[in-house]
């Protein structure tokens, strides 16, 4: 045994609930073996989940820190670990370690600001933590706009929560869109970046983006075109990670490590990094 704590050694967690969100996204509720939250986190931070023998991967924590009972992870099926998780049932044990990374500045920069959240696909997962945090401390923040788009109505993550909870909050406006027309959908149709342009937001907001790289690129261009400064826009990156603490070298971009210096970055900070993320 060693005298040191070792961050690479995880604790055991148990999946207590699996919610099917979309055809390829499930939300997993995780607690420790004694039924508690594995650790405290801030909105935007991540955790390493693993299944011994399958592998370990980094996931954003989608539940808000204000949820004191459990953590949730919305996970899209796209690789070895995620495929394995998708066939897991309640009661399955996994390992968990964290929290990792720099959170969104919800307790300083965001306070008193109008907030504009823009997400595409499973990119809503990390933003849900922030959205539910600012909804919990509603009076600390100004108006909230949420633009969210996905391929189809069936691919919208957290749809029930969005419609029943977010959209009914005072001062919260939700703008949903799907890529193509669909029977039973009378909302907006079109890609997120175009929708943001059509909505034409006032620039007195702080924007938070997350989605596929192509969506982030065009939305960022759109926001700067309508007068947003990059210092008003935050995003969260995703790169391959192994250690989570800036040592294994995998998520190194420029002098930054996405796992510890990110994953949350202000967009002007990203300009200083080589274009490799």
């Amino acid at each position: 045994m060693s005298n040191y704590e070792e961050t690479l050694i995880p604790q055991v967690g148990v999946i207590t609930d699996v919610r099917i969100d979309t055809p390829d996204i499930k939300t997993f509720r995780v607690v420790t073996l004694d039924g508690k939250k594995a650790f405290d986190h801030r909105p935007g931070q991540c955790a390493m989940l693993s299944i011994p023998g399958v592998g370990e991967a980094m996931f954003s924590i989608t539940s808000s820190p204000t949820n004191e009972e459990y953590m949730e992870f919305s996970i899209k099926k796209c690789g070895c670990v995620t495929e394995w998780l998708h066939q897991a049932e309640a009661g399955q044990q996994i390992t968990i370690r964290g929290p990792y990374g720099k959170p969104f500045p919800v307790d300083d920069v965001f306070v008193g600001k109008n907030l504009l959240f823009i997400a595409g696909g499973v990119g809503l997962a990390p933003l849900r933590s922030v959205i539910n945090y600012v909804r919990h401390y509603r009076d600390r923040y100004g108006d909230i706009d949420i633009v969210y788009g996905s391929r189809s109505k069936d691919d919208l993550l957290d749809y029930k929560e969005i419609i029943e909870e977010w959209a009914t909050d005072a001062g919260v406006k939700v703008h949903l869109t799907i890529d193509n027309p669909q029977e039973g959908w009378d909302g907006h149709v079109g890609f997120v970046p175009n929708y943001v342009k059509e909505l034409g937001f006032d620039t007195n907001k702080t924007a938070v983006l997350c989605g596929p790289p192509i969506m982030i690129k065009f939305t960022l261009e759109g926001l700067t075109a309508i007068g947003f400064d990059k210092t008003q826009i935050y995003t969260t990156l995703e790169l391959r990670m192994k250690c989570g603490v800036g040592k294994c070298g995998r998520c190194n971009v420029g002098a930054k490590y996405v796992c510890k210096d990110g994953p949350v970055f202000r967009c002007d900070e990203l300009d200083e990094l080589p274009d490799e993320y």
């Binding site: 060693s2 070792e6 011994p52 023998g53 044990q93 790169l239 391959r240 190194n252 080589p274």
Partner: protein, 342 residues
């Protein structure tokens, strides 16, 4: 300063080995040298340096991190870390000694990597001054003094004697154990050797390699330099440079199913490999040029930016000797550094 006759080195080794595992460079059947555990009958190599650096003894090429037992839906995590026993690494060259300062800044930074840190705590480094540096040596470019290495103990080998100077508490404890086998002595012979080596170092072909074009804050100037295309065009992505490099520290974490449980281990990895950054949904470094550039930008710009200007290269020359296409950090520095570094 203390010394012993060269005829008595095996007695010194035997004394050290009584209380701690002793590793030192040993000649291999293929003519190369490697750090091996000393036992009676093992001869200390006179080679300038080993093919692989001694980083292996602190950051092994593969290392078990933990184990798991799984049964049905249950998982048990087993902390397999064991108390590290005292060990001594003898004959570490100045360049390799410096590499531990570079690795320390990665692994012994919060959160401390316990696997590495526990070995650094227990390991005693006896550094050996160089007398016959090679044409591929360029440690001086990084401010390293080949004739005056640091470490817990500094040692100098002359024609007939081995001289020791303890630099740290661990080093003093080791020298205390060797008191009966060594004698107090003057520094004249060592000083004469240092002077001679310093003169040779000045005349080495790479002695004037200039680091001026590199360092923290140089990303913008260097990242998009057109020279990367030519420099990287022949790179095979074999990763040999990474594996022989004393400062490369990227690693992978993998699970191995033993049939009776799972062992999670780590192993050296390389940013030169195409899978290094490959994710389920894409890869942020698709070409060998991007991967090649990452390795050198990290050593010459990113690492110094995060570490008070310290470069992540010690000029040991291993990559010069081993790259199958003869590409190396010196060529990169000369090409990107402009005429000043010629």
């Amino acid at each position: 300063m203390r010394k012993c006759s060269l005829n008595a080195v095996n007695e010194v080794f035997a004394e050290i080995a009584k209380a701690a595992k002793l590793y030192l460079p040993v000649d291999q059947a293929d003519g190369s040298a490697a750090f091996k555990e000393w036992e009676n009958g093992v001869t200390w190599s006179s080679a300038l340096n080993t093919v692989k650096s001694p980083k292996d003894l602190f950051f092994p090429q593969t290392e078990d991190l933990m184990a798991f037992k799984t049964e049905g839906k249950s998982i048990e995590v087993i902390d397999t870390r064991r108390e590290v026993e005292d060990f001594v690494v003898f004959g570490v060259r100045a360049c390799d000694v410096k590499s531990f300062e570079i690795l320390d800044r990665v692994f012994i930074k919060e959160p401390v990597d316990s696997y590495y840190a526990s070995k650094r705590e227990k390991g005693v480094i006896v550094a050996l001054a160089c007398t016959k540096p090679s044409e591929t040596c360029f440690c001086t470019a990084f401010g390293i003094c080949a004739e005056e290495p640091c470490g817990d103990v500094s040692a100098w080998k002359t024609e007939d004697a081995l001289y020791f100077r303890a630099n740290t508490e661990k080093g003093e404890a080791l020298m205390k154990r060797l008191e009966a086998l060594t004698e107090e002595c003057g520094e004249d012979a060592v000083n004469a050797q240092k002077e001679k080596t310093a003169q040779i170092m000045k005349k080495l072909p790479l002695a004037k390699l200039d680091t001026g074009a590199f360092g923290g804050g140089k990303t913008e100037q260097l990242f998009n330099a057109p020279e990367w295309d030519e420099l990287s065009s022949a790179c095979l992505g074999c990763g040999t440079c990474t594996f022989v490099c004393p400062t490369c520290q990227c690693y992978d974490i993998k699970d191995f199913n033993t049939g009776n449980g799972v062992i999670r281990y780590r192993c050296w990895d390389s940013c030169m490999y195409s899978e290094f950054t490959k994710m389920a949904h894409g890869n942020n470094r698709l070409t060998q040029k991007e991967r090649f550039r990452q390795r050198f930008m990290h050593k010459l710009v990113y690492y110094p930016e995060n570490n008070d200007g310290l470069f992540s290269c010690v000029g040991c020359g291993r990559c010069l000797a081993k790259c199958p296409i003869s590409m190396n950090i010196v060529k990169v520095m000369k090409k990107l550094g402009g005429k000043d570094s010629e």
